[in-house]
Amino acid sequence: MRRWIASITGAAMALGFVACSGDGGTAPVTVTLVAYDSFPTEKTPLNDALATFTEDTGITVKIVTAGDAGAMVSKAALTAGNPEGDVMWGVDNTLLSAAIDAKVFAGEPTQVDFGDVCVNYDIAYFTQHDLQPPGTFDDLAQPEYKDLLVVENPATSSPGLAFMLATIDKYGDAGWTQYWRTLRSNGVEVVDSWETAYYERFSGSGGSSGDKPLVVSYASSPPAEVVFADPPIDAAPTGVATGTCFRQMEYAGVLRGTRHGDAAQQLVTFLTGETFQRTLPLTLFVYPVNGTVSLPEVFTKFAAVPANPYSMDPVRIAQHRQSWQEQWTQTVID
């Protein structure tokens, strides 16, 4: 018994020492990159690209993850001026204004990628039922699509918020709640997170187990379905309703209060450069902003890039976000 405790403590201490000795970097400058949870910390082409940055400049990049994008920005606002790192990756346009108002960044943040939140449909369902998949917001309110759509709660989910903002952009302050009333009577289902919507309620994904053929997801979800299918497939099982898209743009910037301003700025420049941008589509499933990057084949074949996605000024989003969420809750849930 005593030996058991001794061995546990011993093991804990041994592991502790290993961890300590593994931590210390030897490079002269280490820049800390703060990112959201889905940013890979090792073993992807994106991390290989970061390694070339270290080779070229001698600057080591340490990645820390700080929760989802919302949590990351809340933390950054709380620590503005004494940041947790030197560069932040992944503040999107729904959070940008809040971050700027809280004086999180030193200078202007730079756009690093973009992507669209759109309704995805299960191709097999619509073929079987000999039904045209919906293409626009007006379509979704039609009786033939009754009880088919599942969306995320804009108060708790980032794609849910983007989708709500798209309807506000489309129907305006006067009409958007009316639109949601129509959706509600047309049987829209609401869940709290993208994971639940996409995997538990949606029918189209290879990993999903639901029965709803329409879901709010990303325009890049179909290529992800192809890439991560088992066995390999050469046609996406899902499609995108291109008239329902909201453009999300992500930004990166040097954090105010950094002690490595120059190195941090070099990193931000690298993040928008070709070497790094090229890795974005297949690791984060977003589009590069760098125009010289050519897209991988699964993206050109299966991802939809909507011609005129809905969008909104970050300042307007920050001003009305809370009251819109409350109105939405009153309209759709209560």
Binding site: M1, W4, I5, I8, T9, A11, A12, L15, G16, A19, D23, T32, V34, D37, S38, P40, T41, E42, K43, P45, V64, T65, A66, G67, A71, S74, A77, L78, N82, E84, A98, A102, A155, T156, V190, D192, S193, E195, T196, Y199, E200, G206, G207, S209, Y218, S220, S221, A224, E225, V227, F228, A229, D230, P231, I233, F285, R321, Q322, E326, I333
Partner: protein, 509 residues
């Protein structure tokens, strides 16, 4: 230091008197508070009622598969809700989705282990001669239960009820997943305000409100716990079921309980083999592989995350055993202040993980104490969650030791140190190991507090699972469940090993 200080710093920084009024009068908040309270009460009552029978069986009888059954009952409590919750959702009929009933059922499922373990531990040491005497005097079994067993068990019942109440009151994952958008709890609302709206004032106000309710409940329960204490000579009373009806009770109770616990877990395992084409081994085969397809990797290293989780667990266990053990000894010997400490140690459980995470962020932010993304912060968070369980596993045993026993030892010629060693310390190994197993398992599955800390380096298993679940595509989805299956096996093994030690001790005694 890692709890009170950050929490106080956060309050000092963000709290303004006006925001208290604004938050508590904001639309919908009344409904959130009301739902939080009643679902917690109903969940606690049901969990106590349902956990009672299996607690009795595992405490009183020795039977084949007892340890495995106990481990299976315990593990859902430890596993991250995101995973088991997803499997649970798939098992529920669709019209239950997004209902309060689904939340309550899930809470019973997740927390029944608390009742079985805490009440069972106490029940196992109740001397059988008391009940035998009552039976001899002509009392019916029901009467014995009501007038002899229940009064003696009361401290454990209060302890279990208060822990279950805390967990269901502050429930986050299960509520989000199963209750859906129309049933938020205070904890969900805190996270929403802090992370989605950046309204940290309001989040802090709500977390204080939550803490006040829980402090009252815990204080009240601790008071009743102490009032209802009896000292008795603890014995080990597990035995094989003798009569046919005893065997039948054991079989029925354990089979039902285990079946109910296993269903969602079986679902979880099944999902790890399911992809677009039906059943497939690919998710498991590619689990350790760097590339899922040429040039494409998920950036999640399952074996690496296993090592990280084990390292966290070892550290969290060591910390929580040392501090929990000391705390239990202090509580048992210091009467009045002990009660305060006992109550105080439960408070981290009742404090929103978001608030603690944010508090740590602005407290440990200046060199040389800039610990914000230190690798050892998560295990400390885990230890904070585990310490109350360590204390609670040790206290009933410590408290049931009467001063007379030590006095008797001294009278018989033992030195005070020897008396303390023989009477108190030597009785602890069983509960201590059980506590260590519990602490390790809690650390392995801990998710909430860890996600709100800023992390560097490799992910622990629950975080890796969450990251896999957040991606589109059949393979990552199945891999999340494969990793969850590994976590389940690991946690169950830890729990079973800890329980085994208890069995060995019992035999030796």
């Amino acid at each position: 230091m890692f709890y009170a200080w950050p929490f106080a710093t956060l309050l000092g920084r963000v709290l303004q008197p006006s925001s208290v009024v604004d938050t508590l009068t904001s639309p919908g908040i009344g409904r959130v508070i009301w739902f939080t309270c009643w679902q917690a009460l109903v969940s606690t009552a049901l969990t106590m009622a349902i956990g009672f029978a299996p607690a009795y069986v595992v405490a009183r009888y020795r039977f084949r598969g007892r340890r495995a059954a106990l481990a299976i009952i315990t593990v859902p409590f430890m596993l991250p809700t995101v995973v088991v919750g997803a499997a649970f959702l798939a098992l529920l009929p669709e019209r239950w989705h997004g209902t309060a009933a689904a939340v309550v059922v899930a809470h019973v499922f997740f927390n029944v282990a608390v009742v079985v373990r805490l009440v069972g531990a106490m029940w196992a040491v109740l001397p059988t001669d008391l009940t035998a005497v009552a039976r001899t005097l002509g009392a019916s079994p029901a009467r014995v239960l009501r007038h002899v067993v229940l009064p003696l068990l009361r401290p454990a019942l209060y302890a279990a009820a208060s822990v279950v109440f805390i967990f269901t009151f502050t429930s986050f994952g299960a509520v989000k997943l199963l209750g859906g958008p129309s049933h938020p709890t205070i904890e969900v609302e805190i996270a929403r305000r802090a992370t989605q709206l950046g309204d940290i004032d309001a989040a802090a106000v709500l977390s204080i409100a939550q803490l006040i309710v829980l402090a009252v409940v815990v204080w009240w329960s601790a008071r009743w716990q102490r009032r209802s204490e009896h000292t008795f000579a603890a014995g080990r009373t597990t035995r094989r079921p003798r009569t046919r009806s005893e065997r039948r009770v054991v079989a029925v109770v354990m089979a039902t309980t285990v079946a109910a616990m296993v269903a969602p877990i079986a679902m979880m395992v099944a999902r790890s083999f399911r992809t677009s084409s039906g059943w497939s081994l690919t998710p498991w085969r590619t689990l350790g592989a760097n590339e899922v397809r040429p040039g494409i990797s998920l950036g999640v290293d399952p074996l690496g995350s296993l090592a990280v989780s084990l390292r966290y667990a070892a550290l969290a266990t060591a910390i929580s055993i040392v501090f929990g053990g000391l705390a239990a000894l202090t509580i048992a010997s210091a009467r009045r202040h002990g009660r305060l400490l006992d109550t105080g140690l439960l408070l981290p459980l009742g404090t929103s993980a978001v608030t603690i995470g944010l508090g740590m962020l602005i407290t440990f932010d200046t060199a040389p104490f800039d610990w914000r993304s230190a690798w050892w912060l998560p295990p400390i968070g885990h230890a904070l969650v585990a310490i109350p369980f360590v204390v609670r596993s040790l206290l009933p045993t410590l408290r049931s030791i009467s001063a007379d026993q030590r006095l008797a030892a001294v009278t018989l010629g033992a030195s005070p140190l020897r008396a303390w060693w023989e009477v108190e310390v030597r009785r602890l190994p069983g509960p201590l190991l059980s506590a260590a197993g519990f602490a390790a398992a809690i650390s392995l599955g801990e998710f909430g507090a860890t996600t709100f800390l800023t992390r560097s380096g490799r992910d622990s298993m629950p975080i890796a699972i969450d990251r896999l679940l957040g991606r589109a595509g059949a393979v990552p989805h199945a891999q999340a469940f494969a990793l969850a299956t590994m976590l389940f096996v690991l946690t169950a093994a830890v729990v079973a090993i800890a329980d085994r030690q208890e069995v060995v001790d019992a035999r030796r005694a």
